[in-house]
Symmetry: C2
Subunit: 439 residues, 2 copies
């Protein structure tokens, strides 16, 4: 059995930072040995600085990357931002979507993400016409992830209404499958194509209680359960969603999901910003994951959600970059803690280890890969070596580096035993047609 | 007269981003021509991407850089963090202070700062003994700034009490000059040495109403006025300061400064986090500057200050990196806007142009260099070329790049006509004795 060896100057193991860690990975990309305080065996690939498990990006809308640095004129709200996002969505077809997503996933790898959860609802052609393959847009994302070399969980998203009880608006028509059965039939076909793929998983998503009627929640949750698939849902990102939900159902969005059986340990609630104490208790009791997207939640003026309270109630915290105003797992982790400090007026709301877990193992589990994101025997060999000798990281304690490093400090990224980033460079960046040079 | 030419792919001029900007700088480091939409003259130094005026770091405690990534264990508050900071301060002498500050100022240049305001109170030896030169520690900072190549405004800080009416604690003894007259006598001597220096200015600072009694405020303000020097003061960073001030004086810290004549257009209030509406009105009416330090104010759990209200009242907003948990002018600017979005629940609280002004011209003015930080004839030739082709900046609108770029995207930095950073590298980074390689 061919084995690859990696010798890490330091590595983040489950019980903390260890020096001189030798890892072996088999030909399937799985770690088969983890030893601390040993010399390199000479043939090992040397990973400088501190090697983390691969970071997981729990929530992505790849095409929003096209809006970075383009929506800050003229003020506006979340809802006016959404108009710009719809205009971007209207321009994409499978070819251009694949090209854009390849660049975005490449940027994620450069930043240290080895897995991404793509919350995908851009299913059909403008106006809602079906492509010859009704999963052509999902296939474009899968091809992009494979071209870039990142693990993908395609969270195929059900999107049925333009608001509670409202039809889809013209730009939303391409998001819609008509009803939950039609959604499930399309996703069944896609999932069958990727059964057993090591790099691609198909999950389910309820876009939100705005876009999925109460009667469709249980069928989607059932599909996820029957397929052993993760179930994601945008939850209470904006107060307006809560108000509309309460007006229609006399319940909070969290209560509505709970009522219809959509809150389990396989559920990930994205944002979870504006919650009641009851909501926090329900999410915690279910051992659901709350995927915070701190840079997006600041950029879109959503607010700072109750992260510490959720964790204390029993929920798991993961992290995502969502609209990709920033693609940097260190910044998301730091911003989770900083948001708490600003809310609470106290430091040290999460330990550095808790932040690393949210950025790694918790995210991989939420994307349907429990056990990934840890440097232990049997886990995937996803490795991110971060330099500790850059202007940003020089002098920091390795066990607190998550709070000081940044994407530009990533040196090497290995995904399942395949080296994708070396010395901060990816084979696809810059793109051959681009004037850009490397990171 | 020798003249240096710079040809910018794009440049941030007072009325917006222009393409193909040719700048000429004379031998004194002053811009003598600024032309848009012209071809390079062939001999010009080519600046790629977008050239900003130099960024100004309005508030620095250089030695706090030693705490980066080292204070996140065990929770705690601002006040427990301060204990770690005092322990760091206790270790420094003029030689080690110079060495540390040289590295910190080098990091600032790598990030695009061309000027720094050092809020300096580490004056004397441990226990309070005077060095042979009572300004030895200030001289260490000046030497460090000159070694690194950054403009320095040394805000020589008066620090007299360990709390209102309380003596200095043992670690604070080296901060103290005894009284305002002794402080002024020492600073007079230092200021005389640097009268007319193009790269060094001596300013004044009142540490805070905690550390300076009410009777000493007016003498310090008078010194600043008579010396045409900027006056800085830590203001209402923590609620505890406000409470102590109110208990002692029946006034807010802002009201106390106003009462004693310390609020003018040459005053910079650092932090200005916990203000009353009256405070905001006083700062605005004085046309004072409020220097926000967003990354520090998050890291230390201070809170989010009323930036938009201050600006609307007439105050000027500047930015600083303070304790240097982060050294990145783009992140400070973005965080100013993001903080507002989180407070207000709305996007677009400041225009990108307002953020650039806070990060450049407003900061230079607050450091005693009015007119700097703009690419106009007669201004200092401080230039920061930022690449627009990196993973972070590709695709952004140049006029919104302040919200998307980062320190790692800085390509070239020119300070007064002297090129200090080329291709993201500084001659002093990595230090010859350091194992680090470049940015």
């Amino acid at each position: 059995m061919p084995v690859t060896a990696y010798w890490c100057e330091r590595a983040w193991l489950p019980d903390g930072v260890h020096d001189h860690v030798l890892l072996h990975c088999d030909s399937s990309g799985t770690l088969v040995s983890v030893e601390s305080e040993v010399d390199s065996d000479g043939d090992a690939i040397v990973l400088p600085g501190l090697t983390f498990p691969g970071f997981a990006n729990g929530h992505s809308h790849a095409f929003h990357r096209a809006l970075r640095g383009r929506t800050h004129a003229g003020g506006g709200t979340f809802w006016t931002w959404r108009e710009a996002m719809y205009a971007e969505a209207a321009r994409l077809d499978p070819d251009s979507y694949r090209e854009l997503a390849t660049r975005v996933y490449t940027e994620m790898l450069l930043a240290g993400y080895t897995a991404v959860g793509e919350f995908h609802y851009l299913h059909h052609a403008p106006g809602g016409a079906r492509y010859a393959d009704p999963n052509a847009m999902g296939e474009a994302l899968i091809a992009a992830a494979r071209d870039a070399g990142i693990r993908l969980t395609l969270l195929d998203t059900c999107y049925l209404t333009g608001g509670i009880g409202a039809p889809l608006s013209p730009p939303q028509l391409r998001f819609g499958d008509g009803d939950a059965d039609a959604w499930a039939a399309r996703v069944d076909e896609l999932a069958a194509r990727y059964a057993g793929a090591p790099d691609v998983r198909i999950g389910a998503a309820i876009h939100s209680v705005r876009a999925v009627p109460d009667t469709a929640i249980a069928p989607i949750a059932l599909w996820a359960k029957e397929n052993n698939a993760p179930l994601h849902v945008h939850l209470s990102e904006q107060p307006a969603e809560n108000e509309a939900c309460h007006a229609a159902y006399r319940r909070t969005p969290t209560e509505l999901l709970h009522q219809h059986g959509a809150l389990t340990e396989h559920t990930t609630a994205v944002h979870a910003t504006h919650l009641t104490n009851t909501d926090i208790g329900l999410l915690g009791a279910a051992r659901a994951t709350a995927c915070f997207c701190p840079t997006t939640e600041a950029d879109l003026a959503d607010g700072i959600g109750p992260a510490r309270e959720l964790a204390d109630a029993g929920a798991v915290l993961a992290l995502g970059s969502d609209q990709h105003a920033v693609i940097d797992p260190f910044v998301e982790a730091r911003s989770l803690e900083y948001g708490e400090r600003l809310r609470a007026g106290r430091r040290g709301r999460f330990t550095p280890a808790e932040l690393v877990t949210s950025a790694t193992a918790a995210g991989h589990a939420a994307l349907g890969r429990p056990g990934a994101g840890c440097l232990v025997v049997g886990a995937p060999a996803d490795l991110v070596a971060v330099r500790l000798d850059t202007p940003r990281t020089a002098g920091v304690r390795p066990d607190q580096a998550i709070l000081a490093a940044g994407a530009a400090d990533v040196h090497t990224v290995v995904v399942g035993g395949r080296t994708v980033i070396t010395d901060g460079r990816h084979a696809l960046w810059p793109a051959p047609s681009s004037p850009a040079s490397a990171n």
